[in-house]
């Protein structure tokens, strides 16, 4: 792990200069979606790469220790051993990037993972997820408690009210405080792009989040009406590129919400490769927030290895 993004001072002048041409971004998104997706062993390799970037997530009201346990075991062995073996990938440490749970389930997850002799990171959403409409003090407290329970990655949500009303200083200050509360835990800042109105606002919020020291910027909570879309992602990764050009710090990117098929995960990888390059195609810089995606990827890999389409019950459930 190289240096984290320490953040910078809030550069409002830069924020105000942001311009995004929506139709051009839409066109670029279409272009990326229209690219040929990899086939054969390229597809298998890319899908495995996608697996290693997944934050395997469960964020439901009915989460209990038992389903969190299953999730953790699936995260440690995301693809059936025999399938990996056929591709000679069984000893290459293919796990998902992390598991992602609510703060109250962090302790369960940490316990399960330890029990399985794994060092897989546990991520937790925090700060009044998903709406962020709770007092700052309780949001900060939530972060501290999740970290105390053993979460090494925290997905915070921004205060949309501040972004929509253009109070960038206030938003910057809040995120700064979250970052402090995270301590050594990596911070992923969820912009909830479905509620930011315009692509220009997405770009601005991305810059503010990075200036405030986010290690990742993340599209959405999965609970808004609009989730991770390619045009929004293009704008966010451009902001990441912009920040990198200005400061030399590489910030990661995490699309989340609505990513369900293996095909989509390949488009996401293509998008990152096209816009940011191979440097970002690793779990340290790129995550896919997803729950049901893994099952589809595993089926595709099954097909690659056996030439047959699997029924869902042939693959271990999460």
């Amino acid at each position: 792990m190289s240096a984290r993004n320490p953040g910078t001072k809030l550069d409002l002048e830069k924020i105000f200069k942001v311009r995004v041409n929506t139709q051009a971004v839409l066109k670029r998104a279409q272009q990326i979606q229209g690219q040929k997706i990899p086939k054969k062993q390229w597809q298998a390799a890319w899908l495995l790469r996608a697996v290693t970037c997944i934050d395997l997530t469960t964020l439901a009201g009915d989460d209990t220790p038992s389903n969190v346990h299953r999730l953790c075991l699936k995260a440690i062995q995301p693809v059936r051993y025999d399938l990996l073996k056929k591709m000679d990938m069984h000893d290459k440490g293919v796990t998902t990037a992390a598991v992602c749970v609510y703060p109250s389930r962090v302790a369960d997850a940490v316990k399960s993972i330890k029990a399985a002799n794994s060092s897989l990171p546990v991520a937790s959403v925090a700060t009044g997820f998903p709406a962020g409409q709770t007092p700052l003090e309780t949001r900060l407290q939530e972060v501290r408690m999740a970290v105390a329970d053993g979460a090494t990655e925290i997905d915070i949500v921004i205060n949309r009210m501040l972004a929509l009303t253009g109070q960038w200083e206030a938003m910057y200050d809040e995120i700064r405080q979250f970052r402090e509360a995270c301590g050594d835990a990596h911070m992923k800042t969820i912009l909830a792009i479905g509620e930011l109105g315009t692509l220009t606002n997405v770009y601005k919020a991305s810059l503010v989040a990075m200036m405030a020291g986010s290690d990742f910027i993340k599209t959405s909570t999965g609970k808004e009406s609009v989730n991770a879309t390619y045009p929004v992602a293009i704008v966010m990764v451009r902001a990441i590129r912009d920040y990198f050009l200005c400061t030399g710090h590489k910030v990661g990117f995490k699309p989340a919400g609505g990513i369900r098929t293996a095909q989509e995960s390949l488009v996401w990888l293509t998008l990152i490769k096209e816009e940011l390059g191979n440097d970002w195609l690793c779990p340290r810089m790129f995550r896919l927030g997803a729950s049901s995606l893994l099952a589809d990827i595993e089926r595709q890999i099954y097909h690659h290895v056996t030439g047959q389409y699997a029924a869902y019950h042939e693959l271990p459930m999460a």
């Binding site: 311009r19 995004v20 041409n21 929506t22 139709q23 051009a24 971004v25 839409l26 066109k27 670029r28 272009q31 040929k36 990899p38 086939k39 054969k40 062993q41 390229w42 597809q43 298998a44 390799a45 890319w46 495995l48 790469r49 591709m87 000679d88 990938m89 290459k92 451009r238 590129r241 912009d242 050009l245 990888l269 490769k273 390059g277 191979n278 195609l281």
Partner: protein
């Protein structure tokens, strides 16, 4: 495949490389070629014709494999084709608009059935054109075919139209000429280039199955570009229109000069176009656009990247990142490598720095995408760009400088401008002298957008409603403007250099001594620079009526100088202000109507009564054109994507007019009025035979409120002045009434830069009926060029 299967999943997992490009199948197209034994005939009279004993031209695909051979047509084939096209025209033009539209629409479904074959064939021939764009063209033009008689009244088709394209022209550009010609009821003879030959021949077959009458669409192939001129020589051809590179276009113009057939040129390949990034742009998107278009293997235009100085660093930084992964681009031919390297070296010596995706391989026909930052405006990569993935980058300080930089080129094809500032976008679009402006986008083609190259980029408009008129003539004109003729052998350098004949008048009777007239340059009545005069004789050539100045090259130069100074200001005036000036000109004419009538009477020998009538008509004509000023308008265009597309009429600039002998006053005010109503300045050369009414009109001009220099009248020898107009690069268009030698001279000479020519060979009393009101539309359409502006929105 051995190499690719050797890659293990783990290798790829680590490197995250893209897989090998899928090899596209071309089985259907190959089967079609095999069906024709890989030897394609000519497509004449609705069927393939393979005459014996012809040379053939063999075509190879991109990998050098044999594709097929085409026939090199000879004289006999051309005349067979032309007579079939004449019959085709009869059959096709006698259908109703609805029937023609239906056939065009039926072609859409035929195309749908054979889309695979066509697109594969296009790929093989590197004439790439997706069948969806062809469908769009067909649907657009079937609409116009349907409504021709409803929306375009008083115009009729020309007859047989020859569409000639160069070897590197795309199938889209070819069809952008063919389909409007057909939609308007003409029959077409296509002379395709190397890459468009097989697809054009396939299309011939598809046209037939859609129900076109035999002979409406013919394809003749040749060994080289000389075939175009050979086809043009056939007397049944009414019009020749060309698309492709400039060089071959010029060759065609010179080869067809004097044949008595109008030729228009759309040099759509090889123009230099500015790509302007303002500080207010979405720079990432702009850079995407650059990456998209600038480094293609087969590029139709050469881009010149212009970046506002204060965002240069961020543009270059993004270019560097985005270019990092790009592969080398194949150069069209082996010889290009040396050219590319020379251009890069020259730019570097002049201080340019390189942004390259990777180092250039030591040799071979591959070269990495390269941006030449800070290239000198004089360096050959800017002025005379070669093939290859090179992109010169210049910086500008202000918005006005961006426009100046963009306009500082002989080309006027298109520009791409990037800014989020709407006012700036529209102002820049207005001030760039190019035919197409793409705001926050690039290279957008659609048949509804008129494409009309400004400056050296074309002499006709393609696409849109405006592009239909090149395939039509006013119903009122009974005869074609140019009678068919054979080129005479002439020494073009000697044209117009003969000295004026000296006529010593018999001035025994000093009371009736001929009056000396003055010409009108820069708003002042003046003598010729040479100080000499020529005599004007009466209609029977029995006596000298007057003396007029013997103007020459320098008088034309002075007039152009004065004209170009005031023309932009005149164009910028509101249309209604221009209208008021024209109305007051009409009023001024009314005040002097006796003088004018007298001069017509004296000059032409017609009765005073008839002369009076001509003056009255002239007054009415000026008023008509005054009223037209604010009726000449473009509009919004129906694009497929969301956004705003505009077509805007713009002045040509400075127009040279060599006036006809017939109706000397009426024809003069019609041409003058049309030119200035459209926002142009004019240099008029009065008829050598009947100059007096025009010279008498000077007194009206002197007291008008037109800006000084907008209208200039230079008298003298017609040939000499025609030569002076032809050799002045500022003049964008010449309207000429005169000898067939003069027409031939102009067609031959006005190619560099290209001038829009309207040529009329006048013989005796034939020619235009100047009293007919329907010629007004023809006149104002000749006086404007079109600009399309595309502003896409989400």
């Amino acid at each position: 495949m051995a190499g690719s299967t050797a890659k293990t999943v783990h290798d790829i997992f680590v490197n995250m490389e893209y897989g090998p490009a899928a090899t596209s199948s071309a089985a259907t197209a190959q089967a079609w070629l095999d069906h024709h034994s890989r030897s394609l005939g000519l497509f004449i009279d609705g069927k393939f014709v393979r005459p014996a004993d012809r040379q053939s031209r063999s075509l190879v695909d991109s990998k050098g494999g044999n594709l097929c051979s085409t026939v090199c047509a000879v004289e006999d084939d051309i005349s067979q084709c032309a007579s079939s096209a004449v019959n085709g025209f009869k059959a096709w033009s006698s259908l109703t608009c609805y029937q023609r539209a239906k056939v065009l629409l039926r072609l859409v479904s035929v195309l749908g059935q054979h889309a695979q074959c066509l697109s594969e064939l296009c790929d093989l021939c590197e004439a790439s054109c997706s069948s969806s764009t062809l469908v769009r063209l067909l649907q657009f033009y079937s609409g116009w075919a349907q409504l021709r008689d409803t929306l375009i009244t008083n115009w009729t088709p020309l007859g047989v139209v020859a569409v000639v394209v160069s070897d590197d022209c795309s199938l889209y550009s070819l069809m952008l000429k063919v389909l409007p010609a057909l939609a308007m009821g003409n029959s077409v003879i296509v002379v395709p280039g190397r890459s468009t030959s097989p697809p054009a021949l396939l299309l011939g077959q598809l046209f037939m199955s859609a129900g076109f009458p035999a002979g409406a669409f013919n394809v003749v192939t040749g060994c080289d570009m000389t075939l175009g001129a050979k086809v043009a020589k056939n007397a049944s051809i009414s019009y020749v229109t060309y698309s492709g590179n400039k060089q071959d276009g010029v060759t065609l113009c010179k080869a067809t000069a004097g044949m008595g057939v109008p030729v228009s040129v759309s040099p759509c390949i090889g123009a230099t176009c500015p790509f302007i990034i303002f500080e207010s742009a979405d720079i990432d998107s702009a850079v995407d656009g650059v990456i998209d278009t600038a480094f293609k293997k087969k590029k139709e235009v050469h881009w010149l990247l212009c970046v506002q100085e204060n965002v240069l660093d961020s543009v270059v930084a993004r270019l560097r990142l985005r270019m990092a992964g790009m592969k080398c681009v194949a150069l069209p031919s082996d010889g290009d490598r040396a050219l590319v390297e020379a251009a890069v070296q020259e730019a570097q010596q002049q201080g340019a720095t390189l942004v390259q995706s990777c180092a250039a391989p030591p040799s071979g026909t591959q070269y990495p995408p390269t941006v030449l930052c800070g290239a000198a405006p004089s360096s050959s990569c800017v002025v005379n760009p070669s093939a290859g993935p090179l992109l010169p980058l210049l910086t500008f300080r202000s918005n006005t400088e961006a426009v100046a930089l963009g306009n500082h080129s002989p080309h006027g094809q298109a520009a791409s401008i990037w800014t989020e500032d709407l006012t700036l976008a529209l102002e820049t679009a207005k001030n760039l002298s190019v035919g197409s402006v793409w705001v926050n986008s690039h290279s957008v083609c659609d048949p509804c957008l008129p494409v009309s190259g400004h400056k050296d980029s074309g002499t006709c408009t393609d696409g849109g409603q405006e592009g239909l008129y090149q395939f039509l003539r006013p119903s009122s004109s009974s005869s074609p403007p140019l009678p068919r003729s054979s080129p005479v052998s002439m020494d073009y350098t000697k044209f117009g250099t003969a000295a004026s004949p000296a006529i010593i008048p018999d001035d025994s009777d000093s009371a009736s001594a001929p009056k000396p007239y003055l010409q009108f340059v820069g708003g002042k009545a003046c003598k010729a620079v040479s100080g000499c005069s020529v005599a004007v004789q009466s209609s029977g050539a029995s006596s000298v009526l007057a003396y007029c100045p013997d103007g020459g090259r320098k008088d034309v130069r002075n007039a152009v100088e004065a004209a170009i100074k005031v023309q932009p200001g005149w164009m910028k005036k509101s249309p209604s202000a221009r209208a008021q000036s024209l109305y007051s000109l009409a009023k001024g004419l009314e005040a002097k109507k006796r003088d004018l009538a007298a001069s017509i009477n004296v000059q032409t020998g017609i009765s005073l009564e008839d002369a009076d009538r001509e003056v009255e008509l002239s007054i009415a004509r000026l008023s008509d054109l005054a009223a037209y000023c604010d009726k000449i308008q473009g509009g919004t265009l129906p694009m497929l994507q969301s956004g705003s597309a505009l077509s805007i009429p713009e002045a040509l600039g400075v127009v040279g007019v060599v006036l006809p002998d017939k109706n000397p006053l009426l024809s003069m005010v019609t041409l003058l009025g049309a030119a200035i109503a459209g926002g142009n300045a004019v240099i008029m050369v009065p008829s050598q035979k009947h100059p007096l009414p025009t010279l008498a009109f000077v007194q009206v001009l002197q007291f008008s409120d037109l800006p000084a220099g907008l209208v200039n009248i230079v008298t003298g020898s017609r040939d000499q002045l025609t030569m002076a107009l032809a050799t002045h690069s500022v003049i964008k268009a010449i309207w000429y009434w005169g000898s067939s030698e003069g027409c031939q001279y102009l067609q031959y000479t006005c190619t560099s830069p290209l001038k829009t020519l309207r040529l009329f060979c006048q013989k005796d009393n034939m020619g235009k009926d100047w009293t007919h009101p329907s010629l007004l539309e023809e006149m104002w359409r000749n006086a404007v060029q079109w600009k399309s502006v595309w502003i896409p929105t989400a």
